[in-house]
């Protein structure tokens, strides 16, 4: 009799815990969904490496949280937001996925963050660049990890200007991402009293940028800024080298370039290029140790997106352990309370709008003779503190910020 009553009591308490979702682990495991681009243009920047990074984070965390196993699932969104949103919904509704990470491509990032907000599931963007994620479209459970368009402009431009580059010519990819980078950079240039000699917009995507580069070269500006991304940036840098823009004394600045881009451009053509990044493997012992583990598993050094996947997964798991539950809203609140402290981000904080604030770095691509190995690509020009690099959350227009 007593045993029966006890059983009933346990059953009731289990039921109430389940319905309130306040305590414990749903489905008896924590499921991390890596939603990335495995077959299209961002497969090098994120892709398989992102899955490896998340698995590495789970391994480093110990494989279990609160005594329950951690499972990693992954899917290829093929750069199509409707596929991404279908997978995200199915993961949440049917597969018990507790957190969705990576989300490279801004249309995918915004769509999945919206779904996560609606369903109270944590979403972590480390691939998408758009600053809208932490502005009007911010959600209580949405996070934006390593970089955004605001930071790209506000790290690069001030650092280059204070280094003497006080006249600019900007080459912009003619779509929203390029426009927003150009607008931010132009504002910084004006605010700091430098001059914008001119700017030109190239169609997106573009294989031949020679006429735009020649205009930039003829303008006599000290700095040529590239407000484009991916293959456009790679083409710009290669062709700029053919026209001898850097050799002619102008400074070439890519507002967004990933380690994988520079690796494929090579030092011969890329030398002297300035880039902004939130992570580089060869910074200190911790970053080197993490990157070496990553390299052993994957055969490439991590890009900042992949490093961000590692950092965000680790931080999420720490928050689950601290909160004692995997309920999305509770964990998200915990994540914002805790400082970020790991091999990728040292001394980071998370603002109420979900934006991660941490140091950003301005790098210069090494000359071939300075490099000691295949992945020895950057030298540090300047470290920019998070408060200067990222938008003041109060000015973001996010309703969660008081």
């Amino acid at each position: 009799m007593f045993k029966k009553a006890l059983l009933a009591g346990v059953a009731v308490s289990a039921l109430t815990a389940g319905s309130a979702m306040a305590e414990g682990i749903s489905g008896d495991k924590v499921v991390i969904g890596v939603l990335t681009d495995l077959s299209s243009v961002y497969a090098d920047v994120a892709g398989k490496g992102s899955i490896v990074a998340v698995e590495l984070a789970v391994e480093d965390f110990g494989g279990t949280v609160l005594g329950k196993p951690i499972e990693v699932v992954s899917a290829d969104h093929q750069n199509k937001p409707d596929i991404a949103s279908n997978i995200a919904r199915e993961w949440i509704d049917a597969k018990g996925v507790d957190v969705i990470t990576d989300l490279v491509t801004s249309s995918v990032g915004l769509a999945v963050q919206g779904i996560g907000g609606e369903k109270g599931v944590v979403t972590i963007n480390s691939g998408a660049a758009t600053v809208r994620l932490t502005q009007k479209e911010c959600t209580a459970t949405g996070f934006h990890w390593i970089y955004d368009t605001y930071a790209l402009a506000h790290v690069t431009a001030p650092a280059v200007i204070s280094g003497g580059g006080d006249s600019w010519y900007i080459i912009t990819a003619d779509y929203a991402f390029g426009h927003s980078l150009e607008a931010d950079a132009t504002q910084v240039i004006k605010d700091m009293g430098a001059t914008l000699v001119g700017s030109v917009r190239h169609p997106f995507p573009s294989a031949d940028l020679s006429s735009f580069l020649l205009q930039a070269q003829a303008s006599g500006a000290k700095v040529v800024g590239l407000a484009n991304a991916g293959q456009d940036t790679i083409n710009s840098v290669k062709q700029a080298s053919e026209f001898g823009i850097v050799a002619g004394g102008q400074k070439l600045v890519a507002l967004l370039a990933f380690l994988s881009d520079i690796h494929s451009i090579g030092l011969e053509l890329g030398q002297g290029l300035n880039v902004t990044t939130g992570f580089y493997w060869d910074m200190d012992d911790e970053t080197r140790a993490f990157s070496k583990k990553f390299f052993d598993k994957f055969g490439k050094m991590p890009t900042m997106v992949q490093a961000a996947d590692y950092s965000s997964t680790l931080h999420y798991l720490k928050a689950v352990a601290a909160a004692g539950t995997d309920d999305g809203v509770t964990v998200a609140a915990k994540m914002k309370e805790m400082p970020i402290e790991d091999a990728v981000i040292h001394h980071g904080t998370i603002a109420a709008n979900g934006g991660v604030i941490h140091d950003m770095y301005l790098m210069e691509v090494k000359k071939p003779e300075e490099s000691t190995g295949e992945w020895d690509l950057y030298k540090l020009v300047k470290t920019v503190p998070g408060a200067e690099a990222f938008q003041d959350p109060k000015a973001s227009g996010c309703a969660l910020v008081q």
Partner: protein, 326 residues
């Protein structure tokens, strides 16, 4: 790129299917559609239905008029944006927003058709492609409406007729099923009408249709506009059910995808495109979590289909039935 379908005499196909067998098959399909959300994930079936409608509308041109349009993504995408915008910013109810999408698709279709309809084969395909690229770049630039590469996000599902909330997944699902069935019935009616017979005669022998006194250009323009309007309804329904419209919908790859769906299923058959669309959407969805390279696998399947069964899945099935009868 002159496309010949005399191997699939669609007249006999529809004639045969118009009989008892088609009624039974149709009833089974409808029951399957009604029961599907209890077996499959509804969001996935909804998307498959939207693309099935898209492919059926496209097939109206390729299968029954014999004109290969390479610009249908423009109608699909423009309507997706129009519907999304109307639902989000004007607060239109979903059925009105989708109708608005259909009108926008049809409007673009009329303009495209008016420019392109006098050409055939590769020229027709290229003109429609060029026009749809213009619409694509418009969508890329008019970020106030489309959101550029961020897409138009957070489209509300709203209340059907202002009464039934479509936030409920099942309500949304049956709404999409209803839209699909109504449009499919409409396409069936077009194909089996005297108007449809004229279209098929144009496909088989255009000079002869002219000599019989038909104003061929006008028939083609009407068919093109209808096809675009139905495509628009498909795009609008997609943007309400998936709750977003993005550049993927309006990119030229989408025009290619719908050709792929139609050819896989069976061009010139009524249900073929729907089968092809379901197949492609399922592959995209299920391969996504498999770790296989999605685009490569779909490419291989397409090559195999084209080599092994040229008439498409349903086309081959019909031919098989035909052979057994004789």
């Amino acid at each position: 790129m002159s496309v010949k379908y005399s191997t699939t005499p669609s007249g006999t196909v529809t004639g045969r299917l118009a009989g008892k067998a088609s009624l039974i098959i149709g009833a089974i399909l409808i029951v399957a559609l009604l029961a599907a959300p209890y077996v499959l994930y509804p969001a996935f079936v909804m998307k498959a239905l939207c693309f099935a409608l898209f492919a059926c509308a496209f097939n109206l041109m390729l299968g029954f008029v014999g004109l290969l349009s390479f610009g249908h993504a423009a109608f699909f995408g423009a309507a997706a944006y129009a519907t999304g915008y109307a639902a989000k910013f004007w607060g239109l109810t979903p059925e009105l927003a989708i109708l608005f999408g259909g009108v926008v698709g049809g409007g673009f279709g009329f303009i495209f058709g008016w420019v392109a309809i006098r050409r055939q084969g590769i020229y027709f395909a290229m003109i429609t492609l060029a026009l749809s690229q213009m619409v694509f770049f418009l969508a890329l630039q008019v970020t106030g409406i489309t959101g550029g590469e961020d897409g138009l996000q957070g489209v509300p599902r709203g209340d059907f007729l202002g009464l039934i909330s479509l936030e409920d997944p099942l309500a949304m699902y049956y709404f999409v099923v209803a839209v699909f069935l109504v449009c499919f019935a409409f396409i069936w009616r077009i194909v089996n009408s005297p108007f449809g017979a004229v279209l098929k005669s144009i496909r088989e022998n255009e000079p002869r249709a002219i000599s019989l006194g038909y104003n061929v250009d006008r028939f083609k323009l009407i068919a093109f506009t209808l096809s675009a309007a139905l495509t628009g309804i498909a795009g609008g329904t997609k943007s309400i059910s998936v709750q977003l419209a993005s550049l993927t919908d309006i990119q030229w790859q989408m025009s290619g995808e719908v050709i792929l769906m139609t050819l896989l299923g069976g061009v010139g058959t009524l249900v073929g495109p729907a089968v092809g669309a379901t197949l492609v959407v399922s592959l995209e969805n299920f391969l996504a979590t498999s770790g296989l390279p999605v685009t490569t696998v779909i490419g291989v399947i397409f090559v195999v289909c084209v080599l092994a069964f040229r008439r498409g899945i349903v086309g081959e099935f019909n031919a098989f039935l035909g052979r057994r009868k004789h």
